[in-house]
Symmetry: C2
């Protein structure tokens, strides 16, 4: 069992093993990660991680997303099986979104990435100013 820094070389090995696959036609990994990498998916998944939300509730908690993108992103997440959509036949109608088990399983890798970002923001911004003034 590997631990700590050695995990990196493990991931590199796995990556290299699968590299041949990615060159042939459409790489499924890229297909999946492109969706994840869009502007709002991760944000919505992390917001839904605390529990189910209604449409406008999500809109309030993520204020700078447009209604269009909220609808569209939720639809994509639902299509990929990460989010479940439940309609309550009330008046006025209400719709609840919640993470599926699959969606919930994304929180760990997302969390790792977010943690990495938080830890390294100072280094990155420092590198940027260095680079920009060097030019």
């Amino acid at each position: 069992m590997r631990r700590g820094e050695d995990m990196a070389s493990l991931y590199v090995e796995r990556w290299n093993e699968g590299a041949a696959l990615s060159t042939a036609g459409t790489c499924p990994v890229r297909n999946v990660l492109d969706k994840i990498g869009d502007k709002w998916s991760m944000l919505l998944v992390m917001t839904l991680a605390s529990g189910p939300r209604r449409f406008n509730q999500l809109h309030r908690e993520v204020p700078d997303i447009s209604q269009k993108m909220l609808t569209q992103t939720l639809r994509d997440l639902q299509r990929d099986g990460l989010v479940a959509r439940q309609v309550f036949d009330t008046k006025p109608p209400s719709v609840e979104y919640r993470l599926t088990a699959l969606g919930y399983s994304l929180i760990v890798p997302f969390g790792q990435l977010i943690e990495w970002a938080n830890e390294n923001i100072p280094r990155i911004t420092a590198a940027r100013t260095d680079f920009d003034q060097a030019v």
Copy 2:
């Protein structure tokens, strides 16, 4: 110390603690993760993970990237301090790119995400066909 599935709730807690920050103006986490989410960054980082590469060497290993995007993405990665660029004054000139320590530290969270994608591609494609035929 938490382990396994409980890590998820830990990440959710941390996310909620930092949520107030992200609403105010430009969220640094989003700033960083947007770069990660672009089309080529992750691919190049994972390719450079096996060792330093020359420009055209990278071009051959990632055949479907255009020269323009290769140049641009490498520049951005260099600017963020993830990649180091070393020019050898030979004839013809050669330039070598390698991951910095910071760039190397990205491999673990990237690896986690790629592993997640690989494991769950069947579920996602199944969900997609279900969703599409339901419509």
